[in-house]
Amino acid sequence: MPLTRDQITQRAARELQDGFIVNLGIGMPTLVANHVPAGMDVWLQSENGLLGMGPFPSEDAVDAELINAGKQTITARPGASFFSSSDSFAMIRGGHIDLCILGAMQVSQDADLANWMVPGKMVKGMGGAMDLVAGVKRVIVTMEHTAKGGVPKFVRQCSLPLTGRRCVHMLITELAVFEFIEARGRFELREIAPDVTIEELRKQTEAEFLVAPDLATVSL
């Protein structure tokens, strides 16, 4: 049974570690914040200039000058800091962020990522995505395994313009969890969703991938 969107983010949350500095992309990755294990201290960075993002504010605490990178009103937790965009991206580019989780339109078998533009459609811009994938220590992609009509998104080569080359470390979809093995230049299937077979997975995947000898069922 494929994972739900919430379960995908729950699985991604298992990659968090105590004390981690984490940047969550807009959309599904944002939900990872709901699954931080109790007792674990994770610091969320928002690239518009905040380290220590808290939950949404109560109605009376809404502040137009306190927003996240998705332009949503948010709060700052105790211990938070504000800084400029250049300081924020120095933090990102300089490798001071432990983990970033973001969505994708395509991931290639050699860990390229495309998530910012579709040719022929109005281009909105890459925002901070290219900086994040080039600078953050570990990049996890959460995405639906296929696009509309069952078109594979985990592909041999990205047909869409790239956000970054060889930058994805882990891929989590509703069907499986893959880890990129740098030495072999391919992703390895580590976990598969309950009651999904490798054959079914391959049918929905264009990319070549390795299978871990100790392949497990996704555990949440």
């Binding site: 400029s84 580019r93 925002g127 995505a129 080359r165």
Partner: protein
Amino acid sequence: MATKLFPDASAAFSDLRERGVLRDGMTVMVGGFGLCGIPEHLILALRDSGVKQLTCISNNAGVDDFGLGLLLRTRQIAKMISSYVGENATFEKQYLAGELEIEFNPQGTLAERIRAGGAGIPAFYTATGAGTVVAEGKESRSFFRPGDDTRFQNRHLAAARLGGGPPASQGPSAVAREYILETGLFADLALIKAHMADAFGNLVYRKTARNFNPMMATAASFVIAEADQVLGVGEMDPEAVHTPGNYIDRIVRTTCEKRIEQRTVSKP
């Protein structure tokens, strides 16, 4: 020293044409992230000045009826240098009609280009965008990531090119990667939104309204700031100053609407 304080935004703009600061085809930096920390009144004054064919350097392009969207409506902008322009239908229409040029920069590259421009650095290397369309037409070079090479600090790359020096790195994990050359940005005019200013121009920003404002304040020939509060010289704690006053040419106290793009609240 002549006062930097002006009663309102239009007064701060009134003599800029005759002083040669405002001219068609000029480049303007405008602070803000989304609608947060944008110089609302200075944008209106820029619109009312009638200056045309602007190149605007700003992370976003406002929305249809607010922020830089207002200058798109009046077709005063010929080119935008931005990282994301998603929330603006006017923008989309003019872009698709070929009336508006856009140069997309990765957000961190944009921020650093402005910082570099203000700091007198004409160009710098970054890994951001290497191997993507962003790298097209730009010089590239291999470097070790600074943290991977604490012994040689990339100096040996130059030595190796001259035929000497060990091409060794600090550790086995160090792998040279591709970096692209990005240039610094400098504008004719920058419009800044601060929370507090003093009469010398020292600025303090508030929360995430800081964003691109501090770098832009350093990267233009003429810089105007609007602030929620204006203090006398000596009334601001020097330890608290974010932007030193020497960067600022004019100051206006304003009351901003501070529009919210996405009002999200917690469930009670």
